[in-house]
């Protein structure tokens, strides 16, 4: 009988670590998404199977908290489990540790399932007669706050504009979830990261960005060492301005 909690081992690769020898948050986020995919694949509702029936998981929200980051060459463990599943959203949690009781941090994520042809939300319970409900784990704690609505005022500052390039785009044809995190964290420089470490990062995805679009970053300080960032795309052909995601970064 397979456990409800999936446990996967990773290593903090040398070139996935920053100037201080600690893993980049983006790469940790990427490994959480890999763990989510391994867990759901092992239990019959992974991306690879969903592709065959023209469905896909879409990440709607992600919140990551870390008290410490794995160092270069360190092996670490990601546990992941489904905390709840409704017709149109499921929540999945993460615990990152050294596998021997020392916890690096936690994560929370919300996913929708879409029809890859219509791009519309579809019923998660329709997969294998609601099989996901068998895997709900409610006893394992995830002691971090859920992602909330990121409130921002109207007079926020445009701090950067970038073009979207070939390496930003994944097999879904739009900007990879993790690339947004990297681009947002690039708003601060190494001098800042010498004095501050990221404690919590949360992101809510609103729309997709494509090659040829430009991304505008609006940033607002909302508390001491806390910033909200709104990303707005300028669409390549129409020049329409569309909000694509909102983030909150808390430093310590």
């Amino acid at each position: 009988m397979m456990n409800k909690i999936g446990t996967y081992e990773f290593m903090a690769e040398p070139f996935h670590c920053d100037f201080s020898g600690r893993m980049f948050l983006g790469h940790l986020g990427n490994q959480k998404l890999n763990a989510a995919d391994f867990h759901s694949t092992d239990r019959g509702f992974g991306m690879k199977y969903l592709m065959t029936i023209k469905r896909s998981w879409v990440l709607s929200r992600l919140a990551i908290e870390v008290t410490e980051m794995p160092s270069q060459y360190e092996h670490f463990t990601i546990e992941t489990w489904v905390e709840s599943a409704m017709r149109f959203f499921t929540s999945r949690n993460f615990c990152v540790s050294d596998g021997e009781g020392r916890v690096y941090g936690y994560g929370r994520s919300i996913w929708a399932m879409i029809d890859t042809e219509t791009r519309q939300p579809t019923d998660i319970y329709s997969i294998d007669d609601g099989a996901i409900k068998k895997w709900i784990e409610t006893d394992k704690p995830c002691p971090i706050e859920k992602g909330g609505r990121v409130k921002m005022s109207e007079n926020i500052t445009l701090v950067k504009t970038i073009d979207i390039n070939y390496n930003d785009i994944d097999i879904n044809g739009h900007v990879n979830s993790v690339k947004y995190i990297e681009h947002v964290l690039d708003l601060w420089n190494i001098a800042w990261y010498r004095e501050h470490r990221i404690k919590r990062f949360e992101i809510a995805y609103v729309a997709e960005t494509h090659q040829g679009d430009a991304l505008r970053f609006y940033r607002e300080p909302t508390a001491e060492n806390e910033y909200c960032v709104r990303l707005v795309k300028t669409e390549g052909e129409t020049k329409n301005q569309v909000e694509v995601c909102r983030c909150k970064a808390v430093f310590g």
Copy 2:
């Protein structure tokens, strides 16, 4: 008795694949560097040991040829071995395959060893009484051309300028070798990659780039589907212009 050739298994992670579902060349390059590190660590001259004696390997040249790229979720094998070792340079080759005889491509690399305090080249033979010489493998073929001098004319076109950010910099405090490859391949857009695939990429590293520097990309077509790219940094404080690397990209 350990084999002269090291063999390491990897998977083409979903978010390390491009819009077409094939692995990004940058991520393949990164896995080659990981394989190089595993191989040298297993044989007593890896980065982790070198750090303890204030030495480091520095990648001087890398050439990658691929006839095909691993697809999303595909497991692949990287074999790596030392082809030659002199006092100040060693050459290391790579073969990427499915582990069952289907070859995706090959790689060649040249490395120097530096003193991490003086940043000056040091004698590779000084490590464990020239131990690297025991591991030289000359029978395994690597049927791709060595990287040559990338010749460019003087009237080349400036096609892009970017700033160097937090996520570009690794534990050595300068731009990661693989990030240059990604930034250069980002000079072409998805419309180009729909019609062309990268067949060969070669890069010669000349100087280091740091946070706060800007990188200028000069590109010149040198044959059909062949381009040379020169990267020049504008140093953050002095505004000095220094060539940091030269690349050649051949598409098919």
